[in-house]
Amino acid sequence: MRIPRTRGKAAGGPRHLIRGLGVLTALSLALTGCGSGGDSGDGDGKTKLRVSVWSMAETPEFQALFDAFEKSHPKVTIEPVDILADDYPDKVTTMLAGGDDTDVITVKNVTDYSRWSSRGQLADVTDAMPAGGEKDLAGLEAFDSDGSYYALPYRQDFWLLFYNKTLFDQAGVDYPEDLTWDEYVDVAEQLTEDGGDQVYGAYQHVWRSVVHAVAAAQNGGDQLSGDYDFFAEQYETALELQDSGSTLDFGTATAQQADYGTLFESGKAAMVPMGTWYAARLIEATQNGDTDVEWGMAPLPQRADATSTTTFGSPTSFGVNKKAANPDLAKEFVEFAAGERGAAAITEIGVVPALQSSELIQKYLSLDGMPTDKLSAKAFEPDEIALEMPVSENTSDVDTILEEEHELIMVGEKSIEDGISSMSDRVHDEVLD
């Protein structure tokens, strides 16, 4: 410890120090970034519209929409807020809770919609409804909150069966037209080849919708009801497939984070029930030379006593952040995307728009690289598209429980019966009561 040599300096010390402290405080405040966003202007007089999106590089629809919007609104630049697809719901939830002022929020599914709208984080966009939207927008009813809409769908995917024509031809099996689920299991067994060149007759992805949403749509059950006996039949199908080795088992698929696309595109799976979004990816993969699988689409298999084709789907929508920096422009964007011009822009790149006119479906099916056979066209005209998961304030909680119990049934930890009864018990205990 050194003692100051001159008293004079020591006396002047604290003053210097206090000034120094002030500077330091200012500096650290600046460094920790207390600035708030909210700048809406650009240097060149253009208005900046910020839109939250996921994995932009793999989701070309966003760029297509942005290009179209910027073209019709020359004074606007769109600034995407790009978020990794897997983290999207959690990240946006956190952003909204933190008071972020991103203008347009892409709502990936109806579970997120119910979460954000019930918390009052989305603005009312009822007056942004495009002309004829009430009639032609598929999936719109999912966003109806007592007559008001807090997001409008621009895209409506639904599920169908993708199949590998070559594998069917080789095995001498007819293409999967009008299959029942039992027939689907039989066909899958016929197409399965064991050994070094393992081919699975079918690949059922690990999402619970593959079982739950199918069951709900085709048996008319309600996934929020707390009564899940209607899942049983679909579980039997799923487990039969798995036990006979005609599909990659759930445990392995989860542990390896199996990608349905890779399995199908490398010819390792003959049939994959999947959403229409996969068509766009397949077209792109074919054009890039990443796959040479000859593929087709068929309607989703049905129950034995079904008289019409029922599938399920999930609309994707745009909402306006309640704390948006440019709320009016954001509404304009929502209207644009849900309307005709937005629909045309995404149809061009192989995405199914929510605004469904026969004209747009025709345009969609005649895209370069889309299968041209009759069965594929038929797959695009299901009689009914049920909502993947009903919307309510309980959606997210119920979703978590169903997901957890689904895993246990699929890895064989619980029998179908036990699993379903614990789903019912837990949903009643933790959510409904």
């Binding site: 410890m1 003692i3 100051p4 008293r7 020591a10 006396a11 010390g13 604290p14 120090l17 206090i18 120094g20 402290l21 330091l24 405080t25 650290s28 405040l29 920790t32 719901p89 959690d90 939830t93 956190t94 909204l96 809770a97 979460r115 918390r119 009052g120 984080q121 759930f250 445990g251 392995t252 989860t254 542990a255 390896q256 984070q257 997210s396 909680d397 978590t400 957890e404 119990e405 895993e407 246990l408 890895v411 930890e413 619980k414 837990r426 205990d429 933790e430």
Partner: protein
């Protein structure tokens, strides 16, 4: 001592002014000290202290981040008693801590003892042992998931080669998922604590070992009566760090199993995240966090007390 000597040599100034000079000097030193910690402290205050303080208050509120908070008293804590998810998460967290703490302690001590000898290439092996700790956690989780693959993973293939007939399903099995996570985390952390133990080993004077040897103590006796007591401060520190680290486990679980299968690896920190950030129930989430904090605090205080008592002996 250094402080006292100059005071003696300076002629003693008359009472009052001396005290004020002294006081000024103390204040000056304090300010200098503060200025050095200030940058760190501001960061700590903004991102840790304020949120922690807020969590204490939030635990007694109901708040969804959008509407205004509502005072609910102890409701959040009452809800916890009936919440099966909380009980599952608490049990799992205790299971994880019960496996991770002792296993990491033993593994890192063993590694340190082995690598404390003068053998060829010891630096290389020390680096190898430390490597898992600096490897990206996501990479660690993904690779171990592959190793644990029930059908084609090397772990089970190895077990089969050893003649184990019914191999565990690891991350696909509710009973084995947590052991799989524990094994991975022990492997990841042992290198770090090994370094602490290596440092601890250097502080034990060689004379003790010589004396013990002269007295005819064998290797085991030397370890038990010289090494272990000599390492006690290190062990204490490692134990406290491990406890804190084990109870707040989140990252590895999220990447490796995400709480599954079912809820078999759901831990408290994950429940805090789920209830708060994801489901927007910040009050309940903070209450769980508070309970987690109380558990860690209690265990750490007990550890400190035990350590003090032994020190006194």
């Amino acid at each position: 001592m250094a402080l006292a000597s100059p005071q003696k040599t300076t002629p003693a100034p008359p009472g009052r002014s001396s005290r004020s000079v002294q006081r000024r000097r103390v204040r000056r030193n304090t300010l200098i000290g503060w200025s050095f910690i200030l940058p760190n402290f501001i960061g700590f205050a903004l991102f840790t202290l304020v949120p922690v303080g807020a969590a204490f208050a939030l635990a007694f509120l109901e708040w969804d981040a959008a509407s205004s908070p509502e005072w609910v008293g102890l409701d959040n804590f009452e809800r916890m008693l009936d919440d099966e998810n909380f009980q599952v998460a608490l049990t799992n967290t205790l299971f994880y801590a019960g496996g991770h703490i002792p296993l990491t302690l033993v593994a890192s001590l063993a590694l340190a003892l082995v690598l404390n000898r003068k053998i060829r290439g010891v630096k290389f092996f020390r680096t190898v042992a430390f490597f898992p700790y600096i490897t990206s956690l996501v990479a660690v989780a993904v690779v171990w998931n592959m190793l644990f693959n029930p059908t084609s993973g090397p772990v089970n293939q190895g077990l089969e080669a050893l003649g184990v007939s019914s191999t565990p399903g690891w991350t696909t099995d509710t009973d084995w998922a947590m052991p799989a996570v524990i094994i991975t985390s022990v492997w990841r952390d042992m290198g770090y604590y090994m370094v602490l133990y290596l440092a601890g080993l250097q502080t034990i004077p060689a004379e003790y070992y010589e004396a013990a040897r002269v007295d005819g103590a064998n290797a085991w006796q030397r370890f038990w009566h010289v090494t272990l007591p000599g390492l006690r401060p290190t062990t204490f520190f490692v134990l406290v760090m491990l406890t804190v680290q084990s109870f707040k486990i989140l990252d590895l679980i999220v990447v490796m199993t995400d709480g599954g299968p079912g809820r078999s690896t759901l831990v408290l920190a994950q429940l805090v995240y789920r209830e708060g950030i994801r489901d927007g129930d910040y009050g309940y989430s903070s209450a769980i966090a508070l309970v987690l904090f109380a558990i860690v605090l209690t265990i750490t205080v007990v550890q400190f007390r035990l350590n003090e008592r032994r020190d006194a002996r």
